[in-house]
């Protein structure tokens, strides 16, 4: 530890820290452009100058290591003059287009120019002009505004792990670009918009849409993958204008995947905004009363076991518990949430969650990926794996389809047959796993579709020492945001109930789809009466006999459980369009018409019910770390695993009704469909 005095405040910082970190610890804010906590230190903006006693010149604090008994001054005439000079240099070539710049109002340069800017310019020469680069459909560039902080280059190389961005030339003619014009091939590319301290990189779909001070900011949780990324929804009036990440060290750090960030324009298209009822084979508009009457009449005399319900991938826990309670009241145990046919059971929680927790990836020293491509299924988790791989050269093995994962891995095998080889602790990757202190196994959804794989992976995890009292190395990576919540609520076939396959092909007479679109609706029996409740007109709505318009994740206060089993709550940012309502209220209202009134009528009531069904819902945002208390594995089940696992996500940019309705995601699909990234994995 080194003792540093900052403006008279004595702080103790670890050896090897920078002066800037010491100043932060002392509560002194140092202006900076290039320095960022999560990126390597570049030290090229020089804005963070401070005075250090016995140093002849001002020192760039972000790149200067502390020494014991150092005396730092952050607010002297020398420091202020130095920063003013740096700011003047930066503004020589920075255009004065703030009134038309999208960064206006949230621009670091603007803010810091307020403190350190000169009142007039001494520079009479022409400003430098740089040609704009085309970085694809997500990131808009105005390269003349660039101040060469290289944050974007460092992010793309270090965290996103694609060698796409770089700088050419030097000095005043330095240009940030992709060398040869190409779109940024990363699922995390949107983050460089947040990182850019000026308006050089801005959001293309959001260009010239709004100013930050016009927006209402609402904290929420992303549902387009199962990571449960914390987001901030910026809305104006009835419209969601943009989505930004929120800081959560345990889940997403400060990153957000592109699908979550840019697919919100899908929330304005193909919306279900009024009830529809099928009459004489054609869907006609109806009122809520009509729709409920039609459902009540159809349900008259239908036995409980002839009714079924399917929960989709984007559902909140509130609507699922209400639907489960309604179906139970109607006497049905036909419930399912596993649209992709994975063989996961409700019950013991560590059989279906990411037990190590995402943050613990940074402790693991060997990793085995089974039938998963984290880069597409959970880009933020992939960034965490890459972070660990960079920090410690963690050894990574992959069973399943090989893909470009932004880190080196050893391809161990293509199917479940490779498990046996890994038990051999004397050679190959089996030795790596056996030698590791904290080995980690991540199993993806495609692998879990094959019978017996869950049990085999659990057993393998036990054999390599991943199931210890202090360390739980067995992880299931989900792709659906609602899946863990549904399993927690037991939204799976009850006693004698039918599963998804059993409900299709006429297995039930009445089928309730709660936002379920990800299965082949043509397999629903011809005479099955389908009730679709959801927010987008997708596959499910096209087949439905009654459509009940629900709300998307931005339009309701919902509880979501991420792949770790972390319970998180999102708040409502905007109201649902037209006649649409919050989903659990629809089910509650219908239960009254059916004469099976559910015993809750406000949100706290439903949440109390959630907690009653499963106590984990009482503990939001916080997730304790735990080891393995019971090492007995899940049941083997019948059937044998055979053949390659396949892939969970064919096209990263279009996986759900929202992203399929989004023009931005359609543009991304068009742009990236031909890149080697997707070809490699197909």
């Amino acid at each position: 530890m080194a003792k540093v005095t900052v403006d008279g405040i004595v702080v103790e910082v670890p050896n090897g820290s920078t002066v800037l970190q010491a100043c932060e610890l002392a509560g002194k804010e140092i202006p900076r452009f290039c320095y960022h906590e999560r990126l390597s230190i570049a030290g090229n903006c020089r804005m963070c100058l401070v005075e250090i006693e016995k140093a002849p010149k001002p020192v760039a604090s972000c790149a200067f290591p502390v020494a014991d008994n150092m005396v730092v001054k952050t607010d002297t005439p020398m420091v202020r003059n130095g920063r003013r000079g740096v700011m003047e240099f930066l503004l020589i070539n920075h255009p004065l287009d703030c009134p038309i710049c999208d960064q206006g109002g949230e621009c670091d340069l603007q803010d810091q120019a307020l403190g350190y800017g000169m009142d007039h310019t001494r520079y009479e020469e022409n400003k430098r002009a740089v040609k704009d680069k085309n970085l694809g459909p997500l990131v808009k560039t105005v390269m003349t505004r660039c101040i060469h902080c290289t944050r974007c280059i460092r992010f793309v190389t270090e965290i996103a792990g694609v060698p796409d961005l770089g700088a050419t030339s030097r000095g005043e003619s330095l240009e940030v670009g992709t060398y040869v014009e190409k779109a940024l091939g990363s699922e995390l590319s949107g983050n460089i918009i947040d990182l850019c301290p000026v308006g050089a990189l801005t959001s293309k779909p959001y260009a010239f849409v709004a100013r930050p001070w016009e927006l209402k900011k609402t904290d929420s949780v992303d549902v387009l993958d199962a990571v449960g990324t914390n987001i901030r929804i910026d809305s104006r009036g009835p419209e969601v204008l943009r989505i930004l990440p929120r800081l959560n060290e345990e889940v997403n750090e400060e990153w957000l995947a592109d699908k979550a960030r840019f697919s919100m324009d899908g929330l304005k298209r193909r919306r279900l905004d009024r009830p529809w009822v099928r009459r004489d084979g054609k869907l006609v508009q109806a009122t809520w009363g009509d729709a409920f009457t039609v459902i009540a009449e159809r349900l008259q005399g239908v036995a409980g076991e002839r009714i079924g319900a399917l929960a989709g991938d984007l559902c909140d826990a509130e609507s699922m518990v209400a639907l489960k309670d309604l179906l139970t009241a109607l006497g049905s145990a036909n419930l399912d949430c596993r649209q992709d046919g994975v063989l996961l059971q409700a019950g013991r929680r560590d059989f279906y969650t990411f037990n190590s927790t995402i943050a613990a990836i940074e402790e693991a020293d060997a990793l085995l990926l089974i039938g998963t491509n984290p880069r597409r299924e959970a880009p933020v988790i992939n960034a965490r794996i890459r972070k660990r791989w960079l920090a410690s050269k963690m050894l990574i093995g992959l069973i399943g389809e090989t893909a470009e994962l932004t880190y080196d891995f050893q391809h161990v095998g293509g199917d479940a047959g490779a498990f046996d080889g890994l038990r051999d602790a004397s050679a190959g990757f089996g030795k790596t796993l056996a030698d590791a202190n904290k080995p980690m196994v991540i199993v993806g959804q495609p692998a879990l579709r094959q019978p017996g794989v869950l049990a085999a992976v659990w057993e393998l995890a036990g054999a390599i020492g991943a199931l210890a009292g202090e360390w739980h190395g067995f992880n299931v990576l989900h792709t659906a945001a609602a899946r863990v919540g549904a399993l927690d609520l037991g939204f799976v076939p009850g006693q004698g109930g039918r599963d998804l396959a059993g409900m299709l092909n006429g297995g039930v007479d009445v089928l309730w789809l709660l936002g379920a679109d990800e299965f082949d609706t043509a397999r629903i029996g011809r005479n099955t009466f389908v009730i679709y409740q959801g927010h987008h007109g997708d596959r499910g709505a096209a087949r439905a006999d009654v459509i009940l318009p629900g709300s998307a994740y931005t339009e309701k206060s919902g509880t979501y459980v991420n792949t770790e089993g972390r319970v998180q709550r999102g708040l409502r940012a905007v109201y649902p369009p037209g006649e649409a309502r919050e989903d659990w209220t629809i089910i509650r209202a219908l239960s009254e018409v059916l004469g099976k009134t559910l015993p809750y009528d406000d949100l706290p009531g439903v949440r109390a019910r959630l907690e009653q069904v499963n106590p984990v819902f009482g503990r939001t945002n916080f997730l304790p770390r735990f080891g393995v208390s019971d090492r007995s594995g899940p049941g083997q089940g019948s059937g044998r695993a055979s053949g390659p696992f396949g892939v969970a996500i064919e096209n990263y940019y279009q996986t759900d009704p929202i992203s399929r309705a989004s023009p931005t995601m359609a543009a991304c699909t068009e742009t990236f469909a031909t890149t080697p990234l997707l070809q490699a994995a197909e």
Binding site: R236, G237, P238, E239, L267, K268, R269, R270, R271, L272, D273, R274, W276, K282, L283, H536, G537, A541, A542, P577, G578
Partner: protein, 118 residues
């Protein structure tokens, strides 16, 4: 052209040419004492409306060129000259203007509803 200008033109003017619109351009026969240039003016056909003067003659009238730019120098991409229509019935009115029916396009906050078959 009012009567004073008409007499002035008759006494001192020399016709230089006319544009396609029918405006006639004159310059003084005698050079001005200090500037050494001759005075240039236009006799409008109809109401006096300076924005009706085409670019070729505008340049000459403002002493940018010594001689009017000939019609033959027009480029194929040049549009025919149009006067400033502000204040006339043909002036531009934005969509949603009262004179264009007063119906505004849907605001950006609107959404696109799903209908069966779409």
């Amino acid at each position: 052209m009012n009567i004073g200008t008409r007499i002035f033109t008759m006494l001192y003017g020399r016709r230089v040419g006319a544009d396609a619109d029918g405006n006639v351009y004159y310059e003084a026969r005698r050079l001005r004492r200090f500037s050494g240039q001759s005075r240039r003016w236009v006799a409008y056909r109809g109401a006096a409306e300076p924005s009706r003067i085409p670019a070729e003659w505008h340049a000459w009238l403002h002493y940018t060129t010594n001689a009017p730019i000939p019609e033959t120098a027009r480029q194929p991409w040049q549009k025919p000259h149009q006067m400033n229509l502000t204040g006339t019935p043909a002036s531009y009115r934005p969509p949603g203007h009262d004179y264009r029916g007063g119906h505004r396009a849907a605001a950006s906050g609107d959404y696109e509803a799903w209908t069966p078959g779409s």
